[in-house]
């Protein structure tokens, strides 16, 4: 491997590490009166039939490289509560230059709790990023398995009208590489830490405000906006290896981004943009930009691609309110 190639791969791995916990694409979720948009750094908490073409990230990495990624995502409901999805990311990096696919990721997700009245949903998922399925040198040569838990709660059940458009979502992932070490020519080249990724959004929906609380006068566009604050962090927790002096990000360092997002829910699709501010030097040198174009297949093709393969469209997930209030 040439020095230039090594640098490119190092930069690409750095970018991949920063982005690893950031869900590249996801589906919007409708729970009762609430639309949880597909947010850019924290996966939304439910399931749907959806295609994100593409989700774009721009990051200025700590090592000085700049990365542009295009993620393609397709999610399909098997039942009203069970979704399978596949996605992959194309990486274009400059300084040093590198291009290619970072591998294929699949996921199985189940909505395990739903209450429409209280706009509440909990989902569990298992994702696999398959090793050696991308461009040689850019993808991982090993598979990672990632159990996830996701939660969403809208506050439309509050009495204070101005608070009813608020919603929160959260996500926690436990990323487990299937091999502890990677060797090149018999020499240890990389230790693969287990990582916990966690994030949350605080959303305020003008769409919800207009439809259920108080009509919004003014430009039509305002009735379709959701604004939010998002934060996403990644912390290595085991198999980290010794600290490396001057390593950026540090081998034991928590990395992440925080920032505002703006989402426009339009006819059959969603547009979103997010300003990513690194929390420390290891998370990036400058703010980045993420953007998404998300197509709602359940709305575009309600009788074919956009409906569950088995069963009806109504969730049959466990409802904790009904169960505990009998």
């Amino acid at each position: 491997m040439s020095h230039k190639t090594s640098l490119a791969c190092a930069g690409a791995f750095a970018a991949a590490a920063i982005l690893a916990g950031i869900s590249p694409a996801s589906a919007h979720t409708v729970i009762g009166q609430r639309i949880f948009p597909a947010t850019l750094t924290v996966d939304d908490p439910g399931v749907d039939d959806e295609m994100a073409l593409p989700t774009i990230n721009y990051t200025y990495n700590a090592d000085g490289s700049q990365s542009y990624t295009w993620n393609l995502f397709y999610g399909k409901r098997l039942t009203a509560d069970l979704e399978v999805s596949i996605n992959s990311t194309f990486l274009h990096q400059i300084n040093p230059r590198s291009n290619g696919w970072t591998g294929i990721e699949t996921e199985v997700r189940d909505q395990v709790m739903v209450n429409n009245e209280h706009e509440f949903v909990v989902s569990l998922a298992v994702a696999e990023e398959w090793g050696a399925t991308g461009t040689a040198g850019l993808d991982n040569q090993y598979t990672t398995i990632t159990p996830k838990a996701l939660i969403g709660k809208g506050f439309g059940d509050l009495q204070t009208e101005l608070l009813r458009p608020i919603a929160i979502t959260g996500e926690i992932q436990y990323i487990v590489p299937t091999v502890p070490n990677v060797y090149a020519n018999g020499i240890l080249s990389q230790q693969t830490p287990t990582t916990v990724v966690y994030g949350a959004t605080l959303q305020y929906s003008l769409q919800y405000m207009n439809a259920y609380v108080h009509e919004i006068d003014g430009p039509e566009i305002l009735r379709h906006l959701v604004v939010d604050l998002e934060a996403n962090f990644s912390t290595p927790v085991s198999n980290i290896g010794p600290s490396v002096i001057n390593s950026v990000p540090g081998t034991h360092e928590t990395t992440g981004v925080v920032g505002p997002g703006l989402y426009y829910l339009a006819h059959d699709y969603e547009l979103g943009i997010y300003g990513a501010f690194p929390i420390n030097q290891g998370s990036g040198k400058h703010p980045g930009v993420f953007a998404i174009v998300d197509f709602f297949l359940d709305d575009l093709f309600p009788n074919t691609l956009g409906k569950p393969i088995f069963g009806g469209p109504e969730s049959t997930a466990f409802d904790p309110w009904h169960a505990f209030n009998r």
Partner: protein, 121 residues
């Protein structure tokens, strides 16, 4: 590449401004009397405008106030726009707060529901 990203952002923002916005799930876009508003005098009917066409045969709208449920007609589509439904009230509303509860089936078969308040002064 930066030029591409800027162009992309400008394009998506421009398209969002130009788009005829309507969620494919039928959500309430606006109503008369308006959501959360106060009107002087009783309206004779309610008009609800959704973000998508509504099948009135499988949809319902109820109105209730301090005195209980208000008699109202079944919803009918606006002759010129399937996204709009009208509900005639059975009698004049006394001053007070009223809750409108709607359940609709959109033309793409999604069911949605919601409620809102308005006040008659």
């Amino acid at each position: 590449m930066q030029r591409f990203l800027k162009s992309f952002i400008i394009t998506v923002l421009a398209s969002s401004l130009a788009a005829t916005a309507a969620f494919a799930h039928a959500f309430l876009d606006h109503a008369t009397p308006g959501v959360g508003t106060t009107v002087s005098g009783s309206p004779s009917e309610l008009t609800l405008s959704f973000t998508q066409g509504v099948v009135v045969a499988f949809s319902s709208v109820t109105v209730s106030g301090a005195g209980g449920a208000v008699p109202a007609s079944k919803p009918v589509n606006d002759p010129s726009n399937q996204q709009i439904i009208h509900v005639r009230l059975g009698h004049a509303l006394k001053p007070g707060s009223y809750t409108v509860t709607w359940h609709v089936l959109s033309v793409d078969t999604h069911r949605t529901e919601g409620s809102y308040h308005f006040t008659v002064s």
